[in-house]
């Protein structure tokens, strides 16, 4: 039995929104009509108000006690103000863990329908239909925590479908997913749209993912209003260059990256043999179960190493172990003298001060690594610990286009700014080995190109760069070697 919806129509007339305490408006003077059943990809530079518009349509703007916010003009769904059109729109966000409300998947799908006071029999008719529509073939009792990121997003989509909304709002739904998860979610969305005919508005940097799903592209202007609007081919043909300059991933366009000029000295800094990695603590009679085993590995000055493989293959665990943040579960991992410089061979036993000048690790989530209250203090932090001069800080700030934000709180930055800052804070300690975990997840093309250029420069200067990544283009840019970890954790293949 299919889930049925009546497609919704959206209309904005001179609509604007100003968050409390901000001088600039998040959205300014927007006129936009979306017909019932249309599928719209919403593009625009960061700060053009794409997310604000989506949240407004979902009726959740001001949900986090933003009482002093001001709204201008009108924004309606089927002629009803969006704030009062409860249940007509369903919103999916970026963070898969913030998508799930209840602990069993059947209950989680039912949650939205319950809130709309749908009768019980009807809810239990819709729940299996919604799960089938998103391709989640699991028992209703299945734990919602034991799902991959892509599955959690599809679960969220099923919950939205069970509300039978006329309008699907997707806010970078695949930014935190690996390539497989991206396709899972994209295909689930397309299938449900084909089934229900619902209207779609999706915000996403990566145009190629959604190009075959959408029938219209709307580009918001940074200053307010609509910059471009039309069929995908027409918009891309007219404005590919402009969109690429704004950081949009235009299909077929790979951003320019500073090329490498040398190939590294080949001096071995860190090497491993039969290295088993695990997050579990080994106990007597209960040795840790390895997440991955790497037969042989050498990390060389001025050389890149890209670690790839499916989810759950132990890539991040390997990165943490190489970074001296987890002990090796078994086998050997040793820093050679050019790296160790008298601190001993085991990076896990190094003190914090010894570690940061030798091996720097950039985590997937930048916020995990912010330890101070301002951008400048973040960059001062490592030089201060190491007793170094902090005169490089201004150079780094300018280099990463963060100089105008020097006094801002790191948590208030945009996604791309946070990523640039988190890399810069680690670089401020000038480590000989730099390890990055999925540095390009969710990044726009500009941040991507800046990051890749900065890394090729570091490589030329003799830093070893290890990146865990699903991003083939990124790995190609850095060159060097690949380590493919298999789903079968013992297959470490070196090429």
């Amino acid at each position: 039995m299919a889930v049925s919806c009546t497609p919704a129509r959206v209309s904005a007339r001179g609509w604007g929104w100003q968050h409390s305490g901000r001088t600039a408006m998040a959205v300014h003077d927007l006129d936009l009509d979306i017909a019932a059943g249309e599928r719209v990809l919403l593009l625009g530079p960061s700060g053009a108000g794409k997310s604000t518009l989506l949240h407004a349509l979902a009726g959740v703007l001001g949900a986090d006690s933003d009482d002093d916010a001001s709204e201008y003009g009108t924004l309606t769904i089927d002629g009803v103000p969006a704030t009062r059109a409860r249940g007509r729109a369903g919103l999916m966000q970026q963070d898969p863990d913030a998508q799930v409300v209840l602990s069993r998947i059947g209950d989680d799908v039912a949650f939205g329908a319950e809130n709309l006071a749908v009768p019980r029999e009807e809810i239990w008719r819709r729940v299996p239909a919604a799960l089938e529509a998103v391709g989640l073939d699991l028992p209703l009792e299945h734990s919602s925590s034991a799902l991959s990121g892509g599955q959690k997003q599809r679960l969220g989509l099923a919950g939205i479908l069970a509300m039978e909304p006329g309008l699907l709002l997707l806010d970078e739904p695949t930014a935190n997913l690996d390539p497989e998860g991206v396709l899972e979610v994209r295909d689930a969305v397309r299938r449900t749209l084909d089934d229900t005919g619902a209207t779609l508005v999706v915000v996403e940097h990566r145009v190629a993912v959604w190009l075959e799903v959408v029938d219209r592209i709307v580009v918001l202007a940074p200053g307010g209003g609509v910059l471009l609007d039309g069929a995908p081919d027409a918009v891309l043909a007219r404005a590919a260059g402009m969109l690429a300059a704004a950081g949009v991933w235009v299909p077929g366009h790979v951003p320019a990256v500073r090329p490498r000029v040398n190939s590294g000295s080949g001096e071995v800094l860190l090497d491993a043999a039969a290295l088993a990695v695990s997050r579990q603590k080994a106990r007597r009679r209960h040795p840790a179960v390895p997440a991955a085993v790497v037969p042989l590995l050498e990390i060389q000055a001025g050389r890149a190493l890209s670690v790839t493989g499916p989810n759950g293959a132990g890539k991040s665990t390997l990165a943490l172990t190489l970074g001296g943040l987890l002990p090796a579960a078994d086998g050997r991992l040793g820093a050679r003298e050019p790296l160790a410089r008298g601190a001993g061979a085991d990076p896990f036993r190094w003190r914090g001060r010894e570690l940061i000048g030798r091996i720097g690790t950039v985590f997937q989530e930048p916020e995990h690594q912010f330890v101070t209250g301002s951008v400048r203090a973040e960059l001062d932090f490592a030089p201060h610990i190491l007793g170094l001069e902090t005169d490089r800080v201004d150079e780094l700030l300018a280099r990463l286009r963060l100089d105008h934000l020097a006094e801002a709180n790191p948590f208030t930055l945009s996604g791309g700014e946070k990523r640039r800052l988190s890399v810069a804070t680690v670089l401020a300690a000038s480590p000989s080995v730099l390890i990055l975990d999925e540095p390009t997840f969710g990044q726009d093309a500009n941040t991507w190109a800046e990051l890749a250029s900065m890394l090729t420069e570091l490589l030329d200067a003799g830093t070893a760069v290890v990146s865990v990544t699903h991003d083939a283009a990124f790995a190609d840019m850095l060159g060097g070697e690949r380590l493919v970890l298999g789903a079968v954790a013992t297959q470490g293949v070196r090429r």
């Binding site: 409860r86 319950e114 009792e141 948590f411």
Partner: protein
């Protein structure tokens, strides 16, 4: 990464099929009755009957020890303290310097330890056999507690499980920044406080994203329906009767054997 330590498969035990409210009610009844008296007979009787119920809650000896060891230790410590401080009546059993145990004081100590166990065990049984979602359903539908509050707490509890993994990640992420290089107690305390603060920030940010998800799913405004109906069945009558039987047997045995020793009066 996002392993949820609170999410366990729903128990299939007989008691898991009873309404959480009847289990809570029976548990509270036993606790109150056992608090009325301080003798060992009623405690032993209640404890023996409670132990018979363990299979109904799906709790094996191993599982019980895993979950209940803090209670065992607390009972032992309480019993020891009582034996140490209770009036020294009866024969002297052991003298170690200022420490003196007599048959009377040891008897009081054992009685207190057993009573502690008899009072705590119903709690363990209820917790082990009750699914948090079922409890929330019962509280909101049967006790008519505000659903905004009950479901908010339920959704929040899921996030608590994520905090454990988040704490470990934060610890590593901060070591990678060189946090905690000032050794010594003060340095470590400062580093831990900083990490706790960072955890709090992450928890609040995730919670506010979850709140947006819930709000976008229409939560919190207007009337709602319940996909799962919280019902009372014959099983609940049996649970209530079981609670009454345990209380009656405990009190009856104490009165018949003449050890009934009310706290009040």
């Amino acid at each position: 990464m996002s392993a949820d330590i609170l999410a366990q498969p729903r128990s299939t035990a007989w008691l898991a099929g009873a309404n959480p409210l009847s289990k809570l009610g029976a548990g509270v009844l036993i606790t109150v009755v056992l608090l009325l008296t301080v003798d060992w007979v009623s405690a032993v009787a209640a404890l023996a009957l409670e132990l018979c119920l363990l299979p109904l809650a799906g709790l094996g000896a191993r599982m019980l020890l895993l979950r209940g060891w803090p209670i065992l230790i607390a009972a032992a410590v309480g019993g020891y303290g009582t034996a140490l401080l209770a009036p020294k009546t009866g024969n002297v059993l052991l003298v170690l310097g200022p420490v003196l145990f007599t048959t009377g004081s040891v008897e009081s100590g054992i009685a207190i330890a057993l009573r502690g166990l008899a009072i705590a065990l119903p709690g363990v049984i209820v917790l082990a056999s009750t699914d948090p979602t079922d409890l929330a359903d019962a509280l909101a539908q049967r006790l008519r507690l505000p659903h905004r509050f009950v479901l908010g707490a339920l959704a929040g509890m899921r996030l608590v499980g994520l905090l454990v993994a988040e704490w470990q990640t934060l610890g590593m992420a901060r070591r990678a920044r060189g946090v905690g290089v000032n050794t010594g107690v003060a340095g470590r305390v400062a580093a831990s406080l900083g990490q706790a603060m960072a955890l709090l920030v992450q928890a609040i940010r995730r919670a506010s994203r979850l709140a947006v998800t819930m709000e976008a799913k229409g939560f919190g405004a207007g009337p709602r329906t319940w996909a799962r109906e919280s019902v009372f069945s014959r099983r609940d009558a049996a649970v209530a009767a079981g609670g009454l039987v345990i209380c009656a047997v405990a009190v009856g045995a104490a009165v018949v054997l003449g050890t009934w020793n009310p706290v009040f009066g």
